[in-house]
Symmetry: D2
């Protein structure tokens, strides 16, 4: 079971909303909306995606990483390193 299983339905709703926001940006471009307004909407989509990522990360730390830590050994170190790399990608995207 994944860390996010308990939040699965809520996460899927949020992704559905983000999908709609992305379609909204495409529509703004189609309708020749002013560049700054399109950029503002893209920043809002990025922020919403970031929030989903942070929730997934919190769930991951609290379940997958925590379980590995309790189990101890090399697996725990690998899980922590893997989480740090995911955080690095998030920070850089």
């Amino acid at each position: 079971m994944n860390g996010y299983s308990e939040d699965k339905a809520a996460l899927e709703r949020r992704m559905k909303r983000i999908e709609g926001q992305v379609r909204g940006v495409a529509k703004m471009i189609e309708d020749d909306r002013y560049c700054i307004d399109v950029l503002t909407q893209i920043s809002a989509v990025s922020r919403a995606l970031e929030n989903v990522a942070l929730e997934l990360l919190d769930d991951h730390l609290g379940h997958c990483v925590a379980d590995a830590v309790k189990g101890g050994g090399a697996n725990a170190d690998e899980k922590i390193e893997e989480a740090t790399e995911a955080i690095r990608r998030l920070v850089r995207s």
Copy 2:
């Protein structure tokens, strides 16, 4: 006419692809895929969105801001300040 008008078709294709990627993330969650894999895909979507935003910004600077600068006066200062605020939102999202 907006700065991005010449790139409109290409931008719409890219947004369509991003919409597909967002649906892909939702499917990964639905299929209980491993958290880190979902996070990796979210970072890819964020990066793709960022690239669309940077292209829109480049077009905006080269057309809307440039035209305002050529016209001179307060409108030019407003356009530059407006662009900087859009950059700030992009940097912070």
Copy 3:
């Protein structure tokens, strides 16, 4: 003359403050301060640096890029592309 010349003294004071903040982070590490407190201070330094960068960018758009636009020709396109690449680095750092 650079776009930031008018703000030079203020920018130098802000960089001096950031230098002090960086020394402060080093001192926290030396004093074995709690990791999260050190991380919080690093985020504050990053934010202060970002604000200096955004001001430099605003000045650059309003002076160097605007002057090139008024002069017209290839130089204007180069200046705009150069500014977009600087924004890309800022967004990715």
Copy 4:
């Protein structure tokens, strides 16, 4: 003992280098260096700071958070939430 204790000397050297880079940016401004060159150097400083933060975070997850998880109970949840908030600040700075 903090998670970063083993890396303390290396972290302090890196912060010393970052302090020098920050002074370098101030000198570039004092010397009226071209805006884009100053911006490029600021992005380099931000990237170096980010790398220090990611190392601190990795150490923190592997020690403070891991120890709390092994101890179990509310403290573990608090430590994970605290780490996620630090990651949020890092992502947004």
